[in-house]
Each structure stands twice: as C-alpha cells, then as structure tokens.
Amino acid sequence: MKIVACYSNKGGVGKTATSVNLAYSCAMDGYRVLLCDLDPQGASGFYFRVKPSRKLKKQAFFKDVDCFTGAIRASDFENLDLLPANMSYRDFDIFLSRMKNSRSRLKKALKSVKNDYDVLILDCPPNISLLSENVFRVSDRIVVPVIPTTLSERTLEQLFGFFREKKYQKNKLLPFFSMVQRSKKLHNETMVRLKKKYRKFLQKSIPFSTDIEKMGLHREPVLSYAERSAAAKAYRKLWREIRREMDL
C-alpha cells in the first residue's frame, strides 16, 4: 500500500481540490483508493456528498477496529472510498500503523470485504503539528501545491527548512504549481525561479480555473463533470507524474 499526502502549510492553495482529483484519477487507473480527510475543515467529504457520521465526534472513536471500518464511506465512484474523519494525531497514528500492518485486525477486516486499499491519499490540514509530522514520516510521497507568488515561495522554503531540521527525507516532497495564471508576469517569473531552485518540482502545473471553483456546486471531482476541461486534463497528467515517482 502506498501513501500519498497532499500537504501545504498555507491555506487556500487548492489542496482539497488536488486530493479529490488525484484520488479520482488514481481510482480510474484501477487502484483501490481510500481518501482520508484529515483536515477538520476539510471539504473532501463535502465534494463527495458524504455526510460526516455523528459517531465520529467521540474522542475514543478510533481505538476500535469496527469504528475504523464503520467510518469509511463508499463514494459514488468505483474503487474510491472516503474516510471523512476528524482525526487527532493519536487516532491517526493508530489508524496508519494498522493500515500498514498487514496482520492487523483493521487490514483483515478490510480484506474480508475486499476493501483492502492500494493507495491511501491524505488530505492534510494546513499547519505543522504532530499530525503533519506523522504524515511526513509515513507517506511515500508528499505533494505540495504552490501558488507561484512570493508568499508561497516563503512557505515552501519554510517546509524544506523544517524537513532539513528534523532530518525527514526531503526527496519525498513533490511540489507543483497550483492556481497558475499564465497572464501574470509574477507567476511566470516565480515559476522559473522556483523550478531552478527545487529540482523535484513536478512538470505539470494546475491552471487557475473556474471549472475547479465550480466543484462546490457540482460536488464531484472536476474530472467527473468536466472531463475535457484543461483543469481536468492537468490533474490527470499530474497524477501520472506522481504515479511514476512512486513506481506504481
């Protein structure tokens, strides 16, 4: 099982849109995907019309295997499930260790209903916390949406700095440009500069698009309702690049 996190220490950079569309692309490629909503304000669940379970608010929820499996909801799309949860870092720790350990009860429970997953996609909250540090440790790759502006440049520097300081594997970080407006000079210049500075930047960038903004209206991935749009195509290509990076 591979784990891909979608992370940024800055809000409003298109993280949830990325998680949702990457999860959808991954499922379309035939992988069984579980999209985990780790952001308390996360809208992943909203985009798939999944109502959060009332039970999820209980603190001790994730101590029990049945509650883990019980919290998972099927999306309307084949091969794609959701874990719409408010997870504390401790819950998340238990959850991940169980997901990764093939002999754990959670894995067995999922296997018994053919719901063993090939890929876990984590939609992370925009801060550096114990939860995100956990994410940094366990993920195979961390995709980081970056808007090509000066402010984003600073937060990306901070993230790399943090990785250096904590001795996390920096090559897990896969930044890519998000909400790109080619008409803006600043965007173009920043992109050139950053690509030079960070070799790991993914080739494909996601354009700023009203199609993506409309996700809130459609409550579906862009790839589902505007398959042919430039944004949808960009997400497909971005996913393929990530897949190659992970040898999937």
């Binding site: 909801r73 099927a74 091969n79």
Partner: protein, 521 residues
C-alpha cells in the same frame, strides 16, 4: 456509470430478489422508499431479444446460474450470490473450450466441456440500473435489475449492492422491497416456472422407484423400463449430432439394460432373456465404432502432446481421416435410429417392460430384491478378490482384463442395488471400488487405443506419402501408449491392496452377507 462486470468492485453483493412482474420499475419518476428520506431512481434500458442457453443436462441451471445470449454478448447471472458477469462474443460457439477466456467463461467452471450449450428458450431481456439517493443526491445503494419477458409473462430479477458505510440505508431498502412483494430467491428454476419454460430435468441416472422389499422381477423390470426411457431421450441429440454425450448416455442406458439381464439372470425365462440380450446386443454393435471414434477424436490434444512434433503432421492426417470415417458412421447410425424397424423394436420393448406381467417368469422371479441382490454382490465380490489376489508382476494381461470385467460387473450390480440398501454406505463402497476401476479402465483404454488407428489404416494408403507419414505417427503414438499401459499395469496391485482392506471387507459383510444369512426368503 458503474459496471458489475469483470473486476471485483468495492462493494459486496447482498440482497437478491425477484418480483413476479416488473411493475415496480415501470415508474418514470423516482420512487419514495417508504417513509425514509431516500428515493429509488431507475435508469431504464431497452428490451433486447435474448436466448436462455444451457446444456442438455441443464448443468448451468443446476449450478445455480443462468446463461443468456443477447446480441453479441453473453450474460451470466448467479442466482444465489447475485453476481453478474458479461462477456462479448462475436463468433459462433457451442462448447465451452471454444469460448475465449473472460468473466462468463471463467465462471462456468464445472460445466462439462464436451456438452454442447444450446438455446433453451427465446425471451426479451432488459437491463436497468437503480440508485438509492439521499437528500444530497449521494448514492447509498446501487441496484441492478433484469426484466425478462416471454409471451405475456414477465419476471424481474434484482440485486442490491451495499455501499460501504451505508448498510443501514440498505436495510431500509430491503424491508421496503419485501413489503412491496419482493421474493428472496436462490433457485433459477423460478425463471422457468414464471416464464413458462419447460425444464427437461434429464438425468442419465434418474431416481428409481424401487425398494428392497419388492420382488426382484418388479425391480429389474423398472430398471430396464427407466433405462429405455433415458435412451429414447437421447435419440434427437444423436441425430442432430449436438455433442458426443448423447450417444454415450444412450449406450450407457443399453449397457445397463444388458447388464441387468445378465447380472440378475433367472428372473425372466432363460429363452426370453437370451433373445432380449441378443436384440439389445445387436443394436449396441451398431454404435461401437462410432463411440470408439468419438472417444479417439475427443482425445486429440492429448495424443498430440504424447508424440514428438515431427509426428504431428502424420497425426493430423490420421485425424482428418478419422473425422471423415466418423461422419460416415454417424450417418449410418442415424439411418438406424430413423428406420421403421428400430421404431418398432423400441415400441415393442417399451410395451414389454411397462408391466412385469408382460414378461415370462424365471425361477428367481419371486425373490426379495435386497436378498437376491446381496447374494449376487457377495458372489461377485469374492470372485473379484480371488482374481485380484492371484495377480503379480508376471501375470498375463488377459487376467488383468478379466479382473476389469468382473469389477465392472460388481460395480453395475452395486449401482443397480443402491435403492435396496442404506444409501451412504453403499455409495462409499462404490467409491472405494472406483480407484481400482479407473486404473483398470485406463489400462484397457491404452490397449484399445494402440490397436485402434491401425484398424483405419487402409491398404491403399501404404503407397502414398501421406500414408507413410500417418504410419510413422501411429508408430510413435503406439509406443507411447504402450508405455502408459505398462505404467497402469504396475499400479493394479497397489490399487487392489487399497480396496482389499479390513474396512471394506467389514462393510461388505455388514451390508450384504448379513442380509443373506439373516433373512430367509
């Protein structure tokens, strides 16, 4: 949209149901599911002309599934699990091995590969999809429906798919469906009944209505009457040449009849028995060559794998030749089946065996079936043991053949007598004999197969290039078959030792010898 074909989806099948009509999905607007906030939305398909397919022995239906052909695709529905498989097929086929691997082919395992699959009935089929949606238009349950129509009758088959996390909604849906008249169903026979399709319900071994306390004449007459009926059911299949099993079953039936006559001798008057045996024997003779050819042709692939590639060309020539001979043989036997003489004989036999009183009485006719059968079984069993124990590595092949024939007789006797004795024990004993019989059967087959091709090697072939190639291939094959025969021969003693155990002796004693001693007739 979603599909149920091929790949396992992240849902598990759940509620499988039928409605005696398809009214419930005829509505065009979403249906409210009881008092719940959920609704059922159906996306209707179009009716297509389809055909229900099965083998003559209805193996697909008996395995709990139904197979349909609709235009250029096959549809297989597992009536118990609700699993649905589809596979395109744009070529003609009759036998499973001719079908390309795919979801349908792969899920028909267990269905005979040498039985032809043919249309059973024509019908109209429509496939609809259903979604149970909540107030945010999120899908909570998926459904797949199939409407079947034939003449003025209809049936709706449905299967729900639970979506992870929405089990409760599924429960609400199931209660609602049941309240609306859905029937939980696990037998595809319901389709036959509802749509007025006749089941053939054919079996080469139909249940016999005989008991151990009946007099033996009544029992044997019933066995023969039933076997005649089975043979007759196979006649159209032989004539149409659908598959080779029709002739096989036909022969099995007549072999049973002949064995019954000789194994239970003394039931009818000896002259009449001899006359009947002769009549049935003559009919069988007319099928021998055709059956031998069928068996040989069915084994084609194995023969090719036995010989080196250099002999393949010759073998191909041999098989082409054999296929031609088979065609002639088949035509000849069809003429027999269609002849007035045959029809007359069949009618006479059927009339004769319709009532025991139509037949003459032999010395043994009043014997109690179970005692009579037990005596004969014990006698045969002792004979088998005597011959088998005399066999060692140097014994002549003729003795091994004799053992094979005696084993076969014992097996038939036991099979006939199954209704007279406690079912499970008898079946177990028959099974314990089977391994030895299979071994002896193969030993015999290899010896027949070595002689067989030369029978068709005609004088004039000797001079042609093809003839020489063929002779070479036959030589290579014969050498291989001889080796295989020797190997089987080596196994006979070992397999007999497995059969010749205290446990088997005890079982024979318990089942039959006590019967013979304990009961005075």
């Amino acid at each position: 949209m979603f599909s149920f074909t091929g790949k396992a989806v992240m849902e598990s099948s759940s509620f499988v149901f039928t409605f005696p009509d398809d009214k419930i999905i005829r509505e065009s607007k979403p249906l409210k599911i009881g008092k719940s906030p959920f609704s059922l939305e159906v996306t209707a398909g179009l009716f297509e002309e389809g055909r229900l397919l099965d083998t003559f022995t209805e193996e697909v239906r008996k395995s709990g599934k139904l197979l349909f052909s609709i235009n250029d695709r096959l549809l297989l529905i597992d009536w118990r699990s609700g699993d649905i498989f589809e596979q395109p097929v744009d070529y003609s086929w009759s036998f499973l091995p001719e079908l390309k691997s795919g979801p349908v082919r792969d899920n028909l395992k267990g269905v005979s590969e040498i039985r032809a699959i043919n249309p059973v009935a024509g019908l109209k089929i429509r496939q609809d999809k259903g979604l149970v949606l909540d107030d945010e238009v999120k899908t909570r349950v998926r459904l797949s429906f199939f409407s079947f129509r034939r003449k003025n009758k209809s049936l709706l088959f449905g299967v729900t798919r639970i979506l992870r996390g929405y089990e409760k909604t599924h429960g609400i849906l199931v209660s609602w469906l049941l309240a609306e008249g859905a029937q939980e169903n696990s037998d595809p026979l319901a389709v036959y009944a509802q749509l007025g399709i006749q089941t053939r319900d054919y079996s080469v071994k139909p249940r016999l209505d005989i008991s151990g306390t009946d007099d033996i004449k009544k029992s044997v007459t019933t066995i023969i009457r039933t076997s005649l009926g089975v043979a007759e059911q196979n006649e159209p299949g032989i004539i149409a040449d659908l598959d080779t099993e029709f002739l096989h079953d036909y022969r099995v039936s007549f072999r049973k009849i002949r064995s019954a006559l000789s194994l239970f001798s003394g039931i009818y008057e000896s002259k009449e028995t001899a006359r009947l045996k002769k009549e049935f024997g003559e009919l069988m003779k007319k099928t021998n060559r055709l059956r031998d050819l069928d068996v040989y042709l069915l084994d084609r692939d194995r023969y090719f794998s036995l010989v080196p590639e250099s002999s393949h060309e010759g073998l191909e020539i041999l098989f082409t030749h054999l296929r031609r001979v088979r065609k002639t043989e088949h035509r000849a036997f069809c003429r027999v089946l269609k002849s007035k003489e045959y029809r007359k004989s069949m009618d006479t036999w059927k009339e004769l065996f319709s009532d025991p009183s139509n037949l003459s009485d032999g010395r043994q006719k009043r014997r109690v079936s179970s005692v009579f059968a037990a005596k004969r079984i014990v006698k045969r069993y002792k004979k088998v043991c005597r011959i088998a124990r005399s066999i060692d590595a140097r014994t002549e092949d003729a003795v091994v053949h004799e053992l094979r024939i005696e084993c076969k007789k014992l097996r038939y006797l036991m099979e006939f007598s199954t209704p007279f004795f406690a079912g499970k024990k008898m079946k177990k004993l028959i099974r314990s004999l089977k391994r030895l019989q299979d071994n002896l059967g193969r030993f015999n087959d290899y010896s027949v197969q070595q002689r067989f091709p030369s029978e068709f090697f005609e004088e004039k072939m000797k001079r042609s290039r093809k003839g020489i190639k063929m002779a070479e291939a036959i030589g290579a094959l014969t050498a291989m078959l001889y080796q295989l025969q020797c190997r089987e021969r080596d196994l006979v003693m070992e397999n007999f030792a497995r059969f010749d155990t205290e446990k088997v002796h005890a079982a024979f004693q318990e089942l039959f010898e006590h019967q013979v001693k304990g009961l005075s007739e």
